[in-house]
Amino acid sequence: MSLRSGHIHTAIATMRTNRWRSVLTMFGITVGVASVIVIIGISQGVKNEITNQVYAFSKNVITVTSKAANLTNFGVSQVPTVSTLTNQDVTSIGKIKGVTASVPMIIESGLVTGDKTLHGGIVIATSSELPSVLNQSLAFGSFFTSEDISSYPAVLGYNASVGLFKENVPLGFSFNWRGQPFIVNGVLNGFRVTPFSNNTLYNNAVFIPSQAAKQLDPGGGSLFQILARVDNSKDLNKVGGEITAALIKNHGGQKNFSVLLPSQVAKNNTGILNLLTELTIGIALISLFVGGVGIMNVMLVSVAERIHEIGIRKAIGASNRQVMSQFLVEATTVSVTGGLIGILLALLADLVLKLVTNLSPSISWEIIVIGAAISMLIGIVFGSIPAIRAASKEPIEALRNE
């Protein structure tokens, strides 16, 4: 123990005397550890957001999407235009036991004009049951009910409301869609914008009753999603199966749709993220590897420079293991110091990311411990070859070398 602390002492002294060399050696490890931690932190933060209910739909909603168009779940641009789902499916799902609401989500085309023309917004035709599946409250007003469909009511997403009207609270104001004036019944609170979710889509949406849409656009929009609310979360799996069975029957035996349970939605959304994370961590690991090779290189030089010292130590009774442990401790000290600096840098980067971007990376203490452990491991792995070389020197050969 005391010998080991002596080794650490020597290692630090050596690092001080070869300051530049030590800094450059540590650099590789520092960058590697910092990037691994930051990447894991970012991906963990995003995953947390996805799983932490900052999601457009509430917990007990089964999402049915059209498979033909469901190419990826990757953002707004992928909203399908041709769908395999039909209105018949909506009613079938509504009849299944355990389903308390079956809400169609139909994308309609056409310009929306209020005080201004809405750019970058979409019209979603839906039923009055949408609030029961939506995980969001209204900022003003109320959602339309099935009774007042005749008066062409509409509910606006937060951004859509800003895009259509100069007025802050546009309740009772009207806008035109396909020549028909609609009256604003309510404005939704903004959905929190998170990566990999469709929340941006809902912030820009104009929600109108599906009956009105059918009347004004008989050709129909695209039924891209059916949301089924299940009150008892224990029934989710069972109901999911029944929905699949019912739709297969409707679609003549084809399974050209997908039924996603809430847990699967999150998983689908984090799948690509996980892949990206793994890829980037792989790249960061390469940098760690290169850093390790750097340490090995420097340690080999250091051993060559200090052969005489090794000879002296052996002459006064150091065993091979003791010499080896000295150089291992030295390599590990360099790599762990590099790793600790990397961890500090990562924490700093985390802070900067939180301030500058809307990402909220979460760096847990486990990641920090893993980072420290990785840097230690690198020191041991890459320090061992130079250490073994140092230890296996014949004492007399070593002493002669000056």
Binding site: S2, L3, S5, G6, T10, A13, T14, T17, H308, E309, G311, I312, R313, K314, A315, I316, G317, A318, S319, N320, R321, Q322, S392, E394, P395, I396, L399, E402
Partner: protein
């Protein structure tokens, strides 16, 4: 029973044509409590002999018994352990670690033995007091004079309480005052019962020794017991008059040169054992020639 017993110990360096014979079948027995001075010209194998006795090097042939234990084929780690516990080294170039203080240097062998830090410092500082360095404990080697550094090195050699002290020209880099300091210290240690083997070029220093061994070309050519306080009788003579080459040697040298002339003159050779003996002696002569040419 001898503390150190070398039997027919030879040491060869290099391969093929470049092979040199550093020790040539040396037989030497040293008893406990002896103070042995090893003398001889440069390159005669003194250091090699000391390194083998100190377990830093291994003999190519022959056997070495230390405390009646066969040690010439010990593994590196066993040798290190034995070295740590029974042998203390003192070098001409001191060989203190420059980045450690005197105290840390002296305590280092104890650290390798596994002694705890408190005890280590205590023991080291006791030894330093014995060599008169108690107020230099926290100096670095480069802040001390040669004599002081060598005293610290002696303290380091003593700290494990070894029975044998091996000193390779301990006074080689010191002035006469420093030499005296170091030799007085060694002779005091000798009085405590340690066995000391040291190499020197200075005939004056043989007055500290109880036995003087003269070496030449890897062989012990004279082994003289002297009394402490007297310069060995043969010391001065040996130092300034190396064994002269005889006419025969010179002739052999010339015939050796003849061999490499490309006219393929065959050198007549005798048979059997005589041949091998001759080969052995010509090897030595070849080295003479080599040395001569270099001059």
């Amino acid at each position: 029973m001898s503390l150190i017993k070398l039997e027919d110990v030879s040491k060869l360096y290099g391969f093929g044509d470049a092979t040199t014979l550093a020790l040539d079948e040396v037989n030497l027995a040293i008893d406990k409590g002896e103070f042995v001075a090893v003398m001889g010209p440069s390159g005669c194998g003194k250091s090699t002999l000391l390194n083998i006795m100190g377990l830093l090097d291994r003999p190519t042939h022959g056997t070495y018994r230390l405390q009646n234990r066969l040690v010439d084929r010990l593994s590196q780690n066993r040798a290190a352990k034995l070295r740590r516990d029974t042998i203390g080294f003192i070098f001409q170039s001191y060989n203190l670690l420059p980045k450690l203080t005197v105290l840390e240097n002296v305590a280092l062998p104890l650290a390798y033995k596994g002694v705890g830090v408190t005890k280590r410092v205590k023991l080291a500082s006791q030894i330093l007091e014995r060599v008169g360095m108690q107020n230099r404990e926290y100096f670095f080697p480069n802040q001390l004079s040669g004599g002081q550094i060598q005293c610290a090195a002696i303290a380091r050699a003593l700290v494990n309480d070894p029975s044998i002290i091996i000193a390779d020209e301990p006074t080689g880099n010191l002035d006469s005052a420093g030499s005296r300091l170091v030799m007085e210290l060694l002779s005091e240690i000798h009085k405590m019962g340690n066995t000391i083997i040291f190499v020197t070029h200075n005939p004056e220093l043989t007055k500290y020794a109880t036995r003087v061994v003269y070496m030449h070309d890897g062989m012990i050519i004279e082994d003289e017991t002297t009394s402490i306080g007297e310069v060995a009788k043969t010391a001065k003579r040996r130092m300034y008059s190396l064994p002269k080459k005889t006419a025969e040697d010179d002739l052999a040298g010339v015939s050796l040169l003849m061999k490499v002339v490309p006219d393929k003159t065959e050198v007549p050779s005798s048979s059997g054992q005589a041949k091998s003996k001759q080969a052995n002696s010509t090897k030595r002569k070849r080295r003479y020639m080599k040395a001569k040419r270099q001059k």
